[in-house]
Symmetry: C2
C-alpha cells in the first residue's frame, strides 16, 4: 500500500481525554476516531489489526471444533424476559422501540438468542454436542465510557456457546475453550493467565477469566510465577482425543486469583515465597459453564435414553476482540509508539523514502515496494512529500515490525537501512539482502 | 466438515410467510432463521456464503483502489441534522436514546459520518483523491419487512465513498466503481445491467443501479439485448491507467432503463426490434455521484491552488451483501433446491454415506473426506444416520456444486457416484478419479 493512497490521519497532539497509552496511541496512530462517547470508527490501520485478530480467533475456534455463524445485533426484549435477565443489565442495556412500538434492544451478549434458536432445532441427546460461535458487534451503554476501545460502548466480541446433554460433556466443551484461549492469546505474544472467576450476570458455577499481564492493567492479580512460563499446547493439539481437563490442570492446579477472589492465607500456604507474583492484569477473555441457567427458564430440553427430558447443559465463552487491541498495545509499546507483534501487525514492513523526487531513491523504493508485493510481504510505502524527521516519527508511531529506509547516501553504496522497530537495531544491507531477510530471515 | 458436528437445521415444511423462492429455500436449507420481523440469524451454511461474498467484494474493492475501514452501527442524530437528512428517512430510521438521553440512530447509510470524519483530516487538494469503503450492518425499519433477506431490516451492506476536489476526479472515482461492480456481479455468475437511476434520498446528478435479471425480480426493465452478452473487463484491468469512463461506454451507450426511467419512444427509436429486451430484475447495487450535496452543508472544504476553498466532490457506492444472496438464489435454483455458483458455494462437494455403520462404506467415505481436506477441497460429509432418501433430498436442497455418493453396491466394484448438482448428471468413477476431478477437472 502506498501511503499517498492510504488513509492514515495521524495526530501530533495527544488528545486530552486519553488517559492510558493504548487509547493515546490508537488515536495518534490514526487507528480509530471517536464518533460519540465510547463509539469508534476503525480507520484503515486499526481495522487491519482488527481483521488479523479476527482471523486468528476464527482459526483457533474452528480448530477447537466450534462452528461459525452470526446472530443479529438487534434482539427482541421478550427473549430477555423469558430468561429473567431483562432487568439485570439495567441502564447498560440499550433499549429501543421500533416503528410498531415493539420493544427491542442492542444485544450486549447472546445467551438468550442462541438458547432459543437451538431449542427450536434440537430434540434429543443425539442432536448434541453442538458448539457454535459468532463474531459480532455488541453494545453496553457504559455510564462513563473511557480508555478508548478498552471500555467502549459499541465493541466487537467473539462469543461461543456449547450445548451438551450432561455435565461431563459440558465440561469437555468448557475445557476445549480453556485450551483454545491459551493458544489464542499466546498467538499475539501475550501472557494470559486463567483465573477462577465470579460469574456475574452470566451466571453458573465454573468460570475462568483470562488476564494479560500489563502494568496499566485494571485488576490486581496474585499468582504462582510458574504460570508465566508454562508452555502452551502446540498446533498438534487434538481436541477430539485429548483429555483437555487434565491438560488444563497445569494451569488450574496452581494459584491464580484477581483481587476479588484473592485469599492471602491460601496464597502464602500454596505458593513458595520466591514463586509469589503480584502484578496488574487486563481481562481479555471470560469463559462460563452455567449448566441449565438459561435452558430451564427457556424450556430448552432434550430427550435422553435414561433420564427422560433434561435441560440443555450450556457454556458461553467470550473474547473482546476490539478490547484485545488495547491490551496488546498496553503490553507492546514504548515512548515512540506501538510495537506490533508480527502476527497482528497491519503491515510487516514500512519503506521510508527519504528524498521523494530524487530519481535514484524513488526508483529503488519502487523496486523494493514491487518486490515486497510480489513476494507476499505486506508493505506500507511512505511515498509522501513529508520531511524525513516526520516520516521516521510516524513510522515508529504506527509500529510496523520492520522498516526499510532508503536515502541518497546509502544509495551511492547500494545500501539501505533495515531497522527492527522493537530493538531499534539498524543494519546496513544491500536491497537484495534486505528483501531476503524479510522473506526468509524474520 | 462432518454434518454430525455441523449445525444445519433444515426444514421439511415450507414456511407460510415465505413468498419467494430465495426466502423459502434459505429457511428450508437452514441458512437463516428469523429472530424478529426482518431480522435474521445467519446459521453456519448461510454465514459461510455471506463470508464468501464479502471476500470477493473486498478483493474487487481493493483492486479498484478503495481502502477498507469500519464505521460503527450507532450514529449521533446531530450528524444527520447538519446534513439536513434527519427527517428524510422518516420512520425507516431506527431512532434511539441512550442512557443520557442523547439522540442516536442505527445507521441506514454513512454519508454524513464519513464526510464528517474525512473533513477533520483533509485540508488541501493534495489530501485527495481518497477512496474508502466498509462492510457493516445497517438498519432500515421497513414498514413491512418481507422476502427474507431481500427486504430485511438489519442487513449487511458494502458502502464506499470517494473524495475528490474537482468534477473530473470525482467522475474517475465513480467509473472505478462502475467497472468494479460489473466485475463483482459477474464473479457470482450474475448478469447485472447498469441502468441510469434516480438518486432518491442520497441525492446527486449521476447514478446507476445494477439490476440482475431474474424472473421474480421486483422491477421491470427495458434494455438492449446486447448488454447481456457484453464481455466484462478481466483481471488485468488497470484502474490507475485506463480511461474507465470510456470503457464504461460499452454499457452506458446502450439503452437500459427500469420502469421509472423508461421512455418507450426512445427505446423504440434507439433499439432495433430484435434487440429489445423486456424482463424482470433485482436491484443489487447502486452508485451515486452527488458532488457537494453533503460537503457544502457539512462545511467540508479543501484549499485548491486556483479556486481557493472548494467543497469536496463526493460519491457513494453501495452493494447489499445480504440481499445479494437472495438474488443469487433467485437466479440459481430448481424445484429441488439451491444450485450454488462455485465462487460462493458454502462447500464444493458433499459426500453422502448411504450406509452409515457399514465398515467398507464408512472407511471409503472417511478416506474421501480426508483426501478432500488434504487437497484443500471444501467438503461437507453427511455422516449422519439418516436414511438415503433424506440425505439425497437435503444435499440437493443445500445445493453444493458436486456430490460424491458412496454405497455398498458401488463399493463392490470400487466405484462412487459423482453427481453434478446443476445438470443432475451422474458419473460412475473410481474414488481416485473422483478426487482427481474435484481437484483438477472442475
Amino acid at each position: 500500500m502506498r501511503l499517498s493512497r492510504y488513509f492514515l490521519p495521524t495526530l501530533k497532539e495527544v488528545p486530552k481525554e486519553a488517559e492510558i497509552a493504548s487509547h493515546r496511541l490508537m488515536l495518534r496512530a490514526g487507528m480509530i476516531r471517536q464518533e460519540s462517547a465510547g463509539i469508534y470508527s476503525w480507520l484503515p490501520l486499526g481495522y487491519s489489526v482488527l481483521k488479523k485478530i479476527e482471523i486468528i480467533v476464527r482459526r483457533e475456534q474452528d480448530r477447537a471444533g466450534f462452528v461459525e455463524m452470526l446472530m443479529p445485533t438487534i434482539q427482541p426484549a421478550d427473549l430477555w424476559r423469558f430468561s429473567g435477565r431483562y432487568d439485570d443489565y439495567g441502564k447498560e442495556m440499550l433499549r429501543i422501540q421500533d416503528r410498531h412500538q415493539n420493544e427491542m434492544l442492542y444485544g450486549p451478549t447472546n445467551e438468550e438468542m442462541i438458547t432459543n434458536l437451538f431449542k427450536a432445532t434440537a430434540r434429543s441427546y443425539r442432536d448434541v454436542p453442538k458448539r457454535l460461535y459468532h463474531i459480532q458487534w455488541k453494545f453496553r451503554d457504559e455510564l462513563r465510557p473511557r480508555f478508548g476501545v478498552m471500555r467502549g460502548r459499541e465493541f466487537l466480541m467473539k462469543d461461543a456457546y456449547s450445548f451438551d446433554y450432561d455435565v461431563a460433556g459440558a465440561r469437555r466443551s468448557y475445557y476445549r475453550q480453556f485450551i483454545a484461549y491459551l493458544r489464542i492469546f499466546s498467538s499475539f505474544g501475550l501472557k494470559a493467565i486463567p483465573m477462577i472467576a465470579d460469574t456475574g450476570p452470566i451466571g453458573g458455577d465454573l468460570s475462568h477469566e483470562f488476564l494479560v499481564l500489563a502494568n496499566t492493567g485494571e485488576s490486581s492479580i496474585f499468582c504462582d510465577k510458574a504460570l508465566i512460563g508454562q508452555s502452551i499446547p502446540g498446533d498438534n493439539i487434538d481436541y477430539e482425543r485429548e483429555d483437555l481437563e487434565e491438560l488444563a490442570k497445569a494451569w488450574t492446579g496452581k494459584y491464580a486469583a484477581t483481587e476479588e477472589k484473592h485469599d492471602p492465607y491460601q496464597f502464602e500456604s500454596e505458593v513458595s515465597p520466591d514463586h509469589r507474583l503480584t502484578a496488574r492484569g487486563i481481562e481479555v477473555g471470560h469463559i462460563f459453564y452455567f449448566g441449565s441457567k438459561y435452558s430451564e427458564p427457556m424450556r430448552a430440553f432434550l430427550q435422553t435414553r435414561e433420564k427422560g427430558q433434561v435441560p440443555l447443559q450450556m457454556g458461553s465463552y467470550g473474547i473482546g476482540i476490539s478490547r484485545l487491541i488495547g491490551a496488546i498495545i498496553e503490553v507492546f509499546h514504548d515512548e515512540s509508539g506501538i510495537i506490533w507483534p508480527e502476527s497482528v501487525a497491519p503491515f510487516h514492513v514500512g519503506i521510508i523514502n527519504l528524498k521523494q523526487g530524487d530519481t535514484g531513491v524513488d526508483s529503488l523504493c519502487e523496486r523494493l515496494y514491487a518486490q515486497c508485493l510480489s513476494t507476499g510481504i505486506e508493505v506500507l510505502y511512505d511515498d509522501t512529500g513529508e520531511r524525513a524527521g516526520s516520516k521516521f516519527k510516524n513510522m515508529d508511531l504506527i509500529g510496523l515490525p520492520w522498516q526499510l529506509i532508503v536515502g541518497p547516501n546509502g544509495l551511492s553504496s547500494n545500501l539501505v537501512e533495515f531497522k527492527h522497530r522493537l530493538t531499534g537495531a539498524i543494519e546496513l544491507l544491500s536491497p537484495e539482502s534486505a528483501i531476503n531477510k524479510l522473506v526468509h530471515g524474520r
